[in-house]
Chain length 258, copies 2
DNA sequence: CAGTAACTTCGTACATTGTACAACGTACTG
DNA sequence: CAGTACGTTGTACAATGTACGAAGTTACTG
């Protein structure tokens, strides 16, 4: 009896899929016409091209060339599909040997790797992963990225926290960038149009006496960054702060170096 | 003709709602039975109690005591409703005078205020705000929080970036906490159940030779933090790093102090 | 004071989503 | 060869946001 419980009903099954562990029972009936990876490749391509919202079971089925319900013989449900997509793109990330470089260089590179991931697959930053899928991609990624903190003198618990801190930063930056981009596209208003349309009410309401700092700083920030530039700037600024913050922790340690 | 365009079709209208600017045209027809704030209060209560997913137009209408479609005379659509909810809770945040305290104290307090906001209204961290709703709550919040960087010597552009950096950190931490919590609830599996159910496959697959660092660090991190404690720890660790990172920037400035 | 226009309220309806269910055919097991 | 487990698919259902139009209510216009 096929087990199509609602999303996440059977974590053991998802784990078997993540690790591509074939069901040990002898297979009867017709063989499957596609592979799990066929499904995942199509899903990732679809998500890359048209966003996570475009990945509906029907659209995916059409891309794969099967009926919608057929997908459920490959994947227990949509939640598991997303987990598998995520693990697949994790598995494909580059992992060059950087063991010679100082820790700052390595951490910058890890951040950049993740930033590139989110640039190629913006949807990845949106997928909720409360209990992250412990697949081979996720694990290889974790293993590799932990190595960025080799020779920093951090104990294991702190090392995990430091990595989480860096990754959460990059992910948040990616989400902000995506939100800004989609807000602009969805509304179909350029920033200029928006401002001229709302200027009358805004000038009336943005009282410099009530909000002196906000008006001044907002104007300065808005002028300095034409909106397109903003996400990049936020990333650069934030990454510098992240490194400085970790630097205080690491370089203060006993016999700190690198 | 009432204008019910699809979400975000008319930003000027949303602005008028945010600032409670009454339509200047003379009102004909029956007066509305509720106020916009009635709607928002009900929506926020609903979201606080049952999550953002529970805020459907039908459920909200029932809570307010009207038919679903009636809501559209108060609000152009669901997207605008969310913007208004967000601005409303921003408006309600505490803003005590902390002008005497050193900047670190002020920034810690700002972070804590936001953390409390997300503790009370977890849904707020999930609402996408590409172009943030420039309402009175948002603006008062921005004005107040920028003041945390008074006397730090930061120029206006940097001050905005620094605040964004702090707020994005808190928001990311809140999202992680929410994701972890909901993953646990949805699956209805305790962590213990999950581990014992998956131990057979995991021990087979978590090869210490392939993933030596990951297995060791993961075990250490898992042991140090029983899962319930994890979000708090990540927040404390991250906030310390955020402050250190800003400290390098601020205390290095010309005539730096406070 | 009558007529009209603007406005609120709401019932119905539609497209879209994930996925449960059952029918049907296929291939392996006994 | 019979039985059974499985792959594939058509149909169907509940839930969502919201478009549309009817019905009723109020204020402005002449």
């Amino acid at each position: 009896m096929p087990d199509h419980r609602t999303g996440g009903g059977d974590p053991a099954h998802t784990l078997r899929l993540l690790w591509r562990q074939p069901d040990d029972a002898p297979r009867r009936g017709p063989r499957q016409g596609r592979s799990l990876d066929d499904i995942l490749t199509a899903a990732i391509t679809l998500a890359d091209a048209e966003g996570l919202a475009a990945v509906t079971m029907r659209a995916l089925a059409q891309a794969v060339g099967v009926a919608p319900m057929t997908l459920y013989t490959y994947v227990p449900g949509k939640a598991e599909l997303l987990d598998l997509m995520l693990d697949a793109i994790y598995a494909g990330m580059p992992r060059p040997d950087r063991s010679g470089a100082p820790w700052r260089t390595r951490v910058v590179a890890v951040a950049a790797d993740n930033r590139n991931l989110f640039a190629t697959h913006p949807w990845a930053a949106e997928v909720a992963t409360g209990r992250p899928p412990l697949g081979p991609g996720q694990l290889a990624k974790y293993e590799y990225e932990l190595r960025a903190f080799d020779d920093t003198g951090l104990d294991d618990v702190t090392r995990d926290a430091a990595l989480t801190y860096v990754l959460d930063f990059v992910r948040a930056a990616a989400r902000s960038a995506t939100e800004a981009r989609s807000a602009q596209q969805e509304s179909a208003w350029t920033d200029e149009q928006w401002w001229t349309a709302n200027a009358p009410l805004l000038t009336q309401v943005l009282d410099e006496r009530r909000f002196p700092t906000a008006v001044r700083v907002g104007a300065a920030a808005g002028a300095a960054q034409n909106a397109a530039y903003h996400p990049d700037h936020a990333y650069e600024f934030g990454l510098a702060r992240v490194l400085d913050g970790l630097g205080v922790l690491i370089d203060a340690g006993p016999g700190a170096n690198d």
